[in-house]
């Protein structure tokens, strides 16, 4: 990992900065985490494609000094799947919001988990739709307010880690923007993982979610992230009560789709395939 405070500008498309996010938005923290992970990974940036969905998080690719594909709402993983299979030598990082990945894009998310294609999916979970003005997201806890749940939500939220595990993902981790050291570590692990990797990042939206739920400014929301979570590895069961566990929940080596497909092609080459 790079040193804290390191100059990460070489990973950034600096002419696109400042970014579009509101003051104190955690998406910028995630972006820094990605840049720090890239510094650790030392990938050739011209072989990196950043793919984003629609929503605040979907803008991330614009800010990196790599190829960028800003796709449609919820479908980033479908595009990424096509890119990776057509050109397996590319490294692909997909940035999605919670609305993006868990609401409209839930199907592409679970199928990507199932297929185990070598992609890295970063789910920015800020419990809201920021770009459209603070509507309820399917990751928002019961009782929380938003512009579409003015009386508090009655819906149970998704646990993105459970969902990813249930769908068969082979690397699943959760971290927060609070933990600026673990965040890039998880992202780098995910990129190195030979298969589909999910990193859920809890991130603050002071403009909507924070304001509507009385959580204070960005700094207060980071503290809130810290207080609501606990590492799944380091603590006792009692410590976990009422807290969202953080850490790596699965890291398994399973057949990776692109390699399996290459083997299929090689095996079929003898046939000729009449045309």
């Amino acid at each position: 990992m790079p040193r804290v405070g390191e100059d990460l500008r070489k990973y950034l498309r600096v002419e696109m900065l400042p970014n579009v996010w509101c003051p104190g938005c955690g998406h910028g923290n995630v972006a820094r985490g990605i840049a720090a992970a890239l510094d650790d990974l030392q990938l050739p940036l011209e072989q990196l494609v950043m793919v984003g969905g629609i929503g605040c998080s979907g803008r991330t690719p614009f800010y990196f000094n790599a190829s960028a594909m800003h796709t449609t709402h919820g479908r980033a993983l479908a595009f990424a799947t096509g890119i990776k299979l057509a050109k397996p030598e590319l490294t692909i990082i997909v940035t999605m919001g919670d609305g993006d990945a868990a609401a409209i894009g839930g199907n592409h998310f679970i199928h990507a988990c199932r297929r185990n294609i070598d992609l890295t999916a970063i789910v920015y979970n800020n419990s809201t739709y920021g770009m459209t003005g603070g509507q309820h997201a399917p990751t928002a806890p019961r009782g929380t307010r938003s512009s579409t749940t003015p009386r508090g939500s009655i819906e149970p939220p998704f646990d993105m880690v459970e969902l990813a595990l249930g769908a068969g993902a082979t690397y699943v981790a959760r971290t927060t923007t609070f933990d600026f050291e673990e965040l890039p570590r998880r992202i780098a692990e995910a990129v190195r993982h030979p298969g589909f990797a999910v990193v859920e990042v809890l991130t603050q939206c002071p403009t909507f979610y924070g304001r509507m739920n009385g959580l204070g400014d960005a700094a207060a929301m980071l503290d809130y992230e810290r207080d609501q979570t606990a590492s799944c590895e380091r603590i006792t069961k009692e410590d976990l009560v009422g807290k969202l566990p953080l850490g790596v929940f699965r890291q398994a080596e399973c057949p990776e789709y692109v390699r399996e497909y290459a083997a299929l092609c090689a095996a079929s080459r003898g046939e000729g395939g009449q045309a």
Binding site: R3, V4, G5, E6, D7, L8, R9, L12, V14, L17, P18, N19, W21, C22, P23, G24, C25, G26, H27, G28, N29, A31, R32, A35, F178, D179, F180, E181, E182, P206, D217, A218, A219, L222, R226, T229, A230, S231, R234, L246
Partner: protein, 87 residues
């Protein structure tokens, strides 16, 4: 376009600050152990006393807008890598 990094030096160490990218969120102000960061009248961050800076890099680590870069002599690494922020 305002985009240049301003350079605050202390011996061979330096803190680079790009106010053009600052949005005034105060995450850096909140985290700075030396209390040398604050917003000015334009609601942008400024460095009040670089002499007190310990070059811990927390401002950069917390900033969502890549406003800060810390340049340090090599020997400081060990200390800085053990910086705060983990659970």
């Amino acid at each position: 376009m305002r985009s240049a990094f301003e350079r605050y030096e202390q011996g061979s160490a330096a803190l680079l600050v790009n106010r053009a990218w600052c949005k005034g969120c105060t995450l850096c102000v909140d985290v700075c152990p030396s209390r040398i960061l604050a917003l000015d009248a334009a609601q942008l961050v400024h460095v009040s006393d670089i002499g007190k800076c310990i070059f811990c890099g927390l401002c950069a680590a917390r900033c969502p807008d890549f406003v800060f870069v810390v340049e340090r002599p090599k020997r400081r690494n060990a200390r800085v890598r053990a910086g705060a922020g983990s659970n």
